[in-house]
């Protein structure tokens, strides 16, 4: 009796011990899986169902620099599959910018990226945009830091300013008179560069003399006039720095027209496509810039990231752009590029 009971119990134990092994092919022993699985990504993708619309506002749509930048922005729009509106005043005009931004607010875009002609003047309208729930960033030329999330800068202003001064000093043999043709005085990026040109000048080049700083307001007609006037008024001039692409090109034209090619050295900011002929004929010695396409592209990518809740980070590797630097709330795209007679053919913008 007892023996049979014991046998039965033993059998039961053995059977129960064996049965766990045969049912399913896998039996979990230990799991390290956490809730990190796909479940949390779902709401994000559903949000993305509606396409983001991003407004990129340049200083002026007719400025070549910005038309090139627009190409990059469009490329990014295609890559990221979002809507990008590249609209602005024809020329660098702050009131025109305000109008365009207003209309963008009406159209309920998700984000406005502005290259500010006048940071002060844009404060109210950008404030208004933010209150409408639109994110605001600045690119190319900074807006007031109070009314934007971050600023997509092309280069470090100090690096660029000092480099422009060095380039001119190299061309002039570190002595002589020079002038600066800048864009609008109100544009913050230009004034930053201007500041650093002067810092570098004072620090290293005592035999060089800054004759005048002339504003062109990035208006081609006005620029041509002031450049001519500058050459006429200052025959002793040995060099000109074009602190904006408009200033650079008008200076080159004026020098060429005055037959002073080579005598008056011209350096400054300009894209290779417009500079190529001047470089080849020797009118200008060196053009410095970055890729405006790349800037447009980067601006759109960062705008898209921000809409997805990702702020730019220092050292972040942006596909098709490279690593970016972030200093405070300023993004720095990279280092300036120098275009000379030798390498200008490599570039296509």
């Amino acid at each position: 009796m007892i023996r049979k009971l014991m046998l039965f119990m033993t059998m039961m134990i053995i059977v129960s011990a064996c049965s766990s092994g045969s049912g399913t092919p896998y039996r979990i022993v230990y799991s390290m899986d956490t809730q990190q699985t796909t479940s949390e990504a779902v709401p994000d993708s559903s949000l993305q169902d509606q396409r983001y619309s991003v407004a990129i506002i340049p200083k002026g749509t007719e400025i070549d620099y910005f038309t090139v930048a627009a190409e990059g922005a469009q490329e990014a729009a295609n890559d990221l599959d979002i809507d990008v509106m590249f609209e602005g005043p024809k020329t660098a005009d702050v009131s025109g910018q305000i109008e365009v931004i207003d209309s963008m607010i009406q159209r309920h875009v998700d984000l406005i990226a502005v290259s500010a002609n006048d940071p002060e003047a844009l404060i109210p309208v950008l404030e208004k945009a933010r209150q409408a729930g639109i994110k605001v960033i600045s690119w190319d030329a900074d807006a007031d830091p109070q009314v934007r999330d971050f600023y997509v800068n092309m280069v470090d202003p100090e690096t660029l300013g000092r480099h422009l001064m060095d380039t001119l000093a190299n061309a002039m043999g570190e002595k002589g008179n020079f002038a600066i043709l800048t864009g609008a005085i109100s544009a913050s990026n230009l004034s930053d560069w201007l500041k650093w040109i002067q810092v570098q000048h004072k620090a290293y080049y005592p035999e060089m003399n800054l004759v005048k700083v002339v504003a062109t307001d990035d208006n081609l007609t006005k620029a041509g006039e002031v450049a001519k006037q500058l050459l006429a008024e200052h025959p002793e001039l040995n060099g000109i720095i074009g602190n904006s692409s408009v200033g650079f090109l008008s200076a080159a034209n004026a020098v060429k027209d005055a037959g002073k090619a080579g005598a008056v050295k011209v350096v400054g900011l300009s894209n290779p496509n417009f500079t190529r002929s001047y470089l080849n004929e020797g009118t200008v010695q060196m053009a410095t810039l970055w890729s405006p396409k790349k800037l447009g592209y980067l601006t759109v990518v960062l705008a898209n990231n921000l809409l997805n809740g990702v702020r730019p980070a220092d050292g972040q590797d942006i596909p098709k752009v490279g690593k970016i630097r972030v200093v405070g709330d300023m993004v720095i795209m990279g280092e300036p590029l120098d275009f000379s007679k030798e390498n200008v053919n490599q570039y296509d913008f």
């Binding site: 033993t10 092994g21 092919p25 896998y26 022993v29 799991s31 390290m32 699985t37 098709k320």
Partner: protein
């Protein structure tokens, strides 16, 4: 219920040895085997759990190492953008002269060699750039295939994710290096970020042996497998190299992405540990047969089994021995009981133990010996009684006594003493009646004294003046008439006294007294018969010999003292050794024989 009762009934009737052995087996073998099985299973499970918990962590670590390496490798293409010269060569589209192209190719190849092949990362086997119908490359090893350039060009047509490096896994590559090292390609589009143009493709062949180094950290046996596979289940690296490039078809069925599980396949159960890297999405799998894991526990298991067997054997032997040592004496006991039953009391059950069995044996022995002694004693008593009776009878119908008495009667007849003749015949008849009448061993004191008196009276007729006798009764009549005494104890003593006395003396006197006295030895009252004479007495040496003979209780049937020792022995047997005959004698003065018996109210 019927079943239960029947089985319990059966068990109850098992042999004791079977019961003991079954009980021992149940108490030792069953719990021992259960304990052994459970502890082994538990141990095995804990080993499995331990490895199962430990392995994914190691894999996680290894995966992080691999991730780190992969991340480093993924950055390799970016080095290209550090060189303006390299970029300017790549940006060129047309060449005016062949020598220009050759120079560019030379410059580019040496740049690649400087930067990649002799660079920091030792895992790079070769680097290949396809740009604008041109091929720049630098490689540590040559491809086996002759048309490798065309094959490589084919890979550049693959679709890309934007601006990201990606892998071309071994399965997608038809090219092999001379050394047949496992490798994969990292492919990246060369994108001119300034001009926003695709400049070409870069393919970096990476030796996967670095995974080997990471794998080496695993203290694994040869039967364990370790492999790395892509998200799709393609095996990128396997400890069995022949499997590199194949698919793990089971991957989607694995129950988790990170952890351990037991897989029951046809080839035996395996413990599989798995970890999926967060960056590359690659999955690292470690698979080891459970039997391999258990190999370390096999020693424990074998020792357990051996111990189990040894203990089982020992306990079984002990069980058998104990049951045997218990039942063997019992069997012998029952055998001996049968012998005793047959009437043989000369048995001895020898059990050296002091346990219950030994006690039983000793009890049995003492019982048998007691029975034997009792039989012996009763037999002896009966025998002596019969002897005494026979003796008494003999002495009663003693031819001498009868002859002498009849002669005395004859003489009396001649002398005409009719009264004396009548008296003697009456006495003789009464004596015979006393002897034959009662079958009992017991008679009242009065009867016994009467018989002695009859005898003395007859002798008085014969010896006339030579013999004088006196009988004193110093006790109450009721006791005298009611108390019992063994039959025929006085006559032999009296006869003895007369015989010895008249042999030597001319005249003698015999005195018989019956008294009730206090016995100092037993502390109780007793009856004392005193037969005293004034015969020759007994010398002290003879007296000592007589006393010794009485004490020894020996029978010397034909000796002169047979009468005394017979009486003494009978009293001892019937009433105990506290009672019996005492002799007092002084040579030349006389002898006194004391017969002491207890107060007997019953004649049984």
């Amino acid at each position: 219920m019927i079943f239960k009762r029947r089985t319990s009934f059966q068990f109850r009737h098992f042999r004791l040895s079977s019961k003991l052995i079954i009980t021992y087996l149940l108490l030792t073998v069953v719990p021992l085997s259960l304990l052994g099985y459970i502890s082994y299973a538990q141990y095995a499970r804990s080993v499995e759990a331990q490895i199962g918990e430990y392995m994914p962590k190691i894999l996680h670590q290894a995966n992080e190492d691999i991730d780190k390496q992969i991340d480093e490798l993924m950055r390799l293409p970016d080095l290209l953008f550090n060189s303006e010269q390299a970029l300017s060569i790549l940006r060129k589209e047309t060449y005016a002269k062949r020598s220009e192209f050759n120079k560019d190719q030379y410059d580019m190849n040496s740049y690649l060699s400087r930067t990649y092949i002799r660079g920091n990362n030792a895992n790079v086997i070769g680097v290949f750039i396809l740009s604008n119908q041109r091929m720049f490359y630098s490689s540590k090893q040559q491809f086996k295939q002759a048309d490798w350039q065309n094959t490589l060009s084919g890979y550049s047509e693959k679709p890309y994710s934007i601006g990201k490096a990606q892998f071309i896994l071994p399965s997608e590559v038809d090219l092999q290096f001379d050394a047949e090292v496992p490798y994969l390609f990292i492919q990246k589009q060369i994108y001119d970020v300034d001009n926003r143009k695709v400049l070409g493709d870069m393919l970096i062949a990476v030796d996967l042996s670095f995974i080997d180094k990471i794998f080496h950290n695993f203290e694994s046996s040869n039967r364990a497998n370790l492999w790395l596979m892509s998200d799709a289940g393609e095996i990128i690296y396997h400890s069995d190299r022949s499997l590199i490039g194949t698919m793990d078809t089971e991957k989607d069925n694995y129950p988790l992405r990170s952890g351990s599980f037991r897989a029951n396949h046809a080839g035996g159960a395996k413990l599989m540990s798995i970890n999926t890297a967060s960056i590359s999405g690659w999955t690292l799998v470690h698979s080891i047969p459970l039997s391999e894991l258990m190999q370390r526990t096999n020693l424990v298991r074998n020792v357990t089994i051996l111990l189990f067997i040894a203990i089982s054997v020992i306990t079984s032997l002990i069980a058998v021995w104990i049951s045997w040592s218990m039942t063997r004496p019992l069997k012998r006991l029952s055998g001996l009981m049968k012998t005793v039953e047959m009437g043989n009391f000369q048995v001895d059950l020898k059990v050296p133990h002091r346990d219950e069995i030994g006690m039983l044996a000793r009890s049995f022995n003492s019982m048998v010996s007691t029975i034997r002694d009792l039989i012996q004693k009763n037999y002896q008593v009966e025998l002596r009684q019969k002897e005494a009776e026979l003796y008494a009878l003999q002495s009663q119908i003693n031819p001498h006594f009868l002859y002498n008495t009849l002669e005395t009667i004859g003489m009396a007849v001649e002398e005409g003493e009719t009264e004396a003749v009548v008296d003697m015949v009456t006495l003789l008849g009464r004596m015979f009646r006393f002897s034959v009448s009662n079958q009992s061993k017991w008679v009242t004191i009065a009867q016994e004294v009467q018989h002695a008196e009859d005898y003395l009276t007859i002798q008085k007729f014969r010896f006339e003046d030579r013999l004088a006798f006196r009988i004193d009764k110093k006790m109450t009549d009721s006791h005298f008439l009611q108390l019992f005494t063994p039959k025929f104890i006085l006559q032999p003593v009296v006869e003895n006294a007369i015989k010895h006395g008249l042999d030597v003396r001319r005249k003698m006197e015999v005195c018989l007294s019956v008294s009730e006295e206090f016995d100092a030895r037993t502390g109780e009252p007793c009856i004392v018969f005193r037969v005293s004479d004034n015969g020759p007495g007994i010398s002290s040496e003879k007296l000592f010999q007589l006393e010794e003979a009485l004490k020894k209780d020996s029978f010397a049937p034909k000796s002169a003292n047979f009468g005394l020792s017979n009486v003494n022995a009978r009293i001892g047997m019937m009433l105990g050794n506290d009672y019996g005959i005492q002799l007092h004698s002084i040579e030349g003065i006389g002898t006194e024989v004391l017969i002491r018996i207890p107060l007997n109210e019953r004649s049984d």
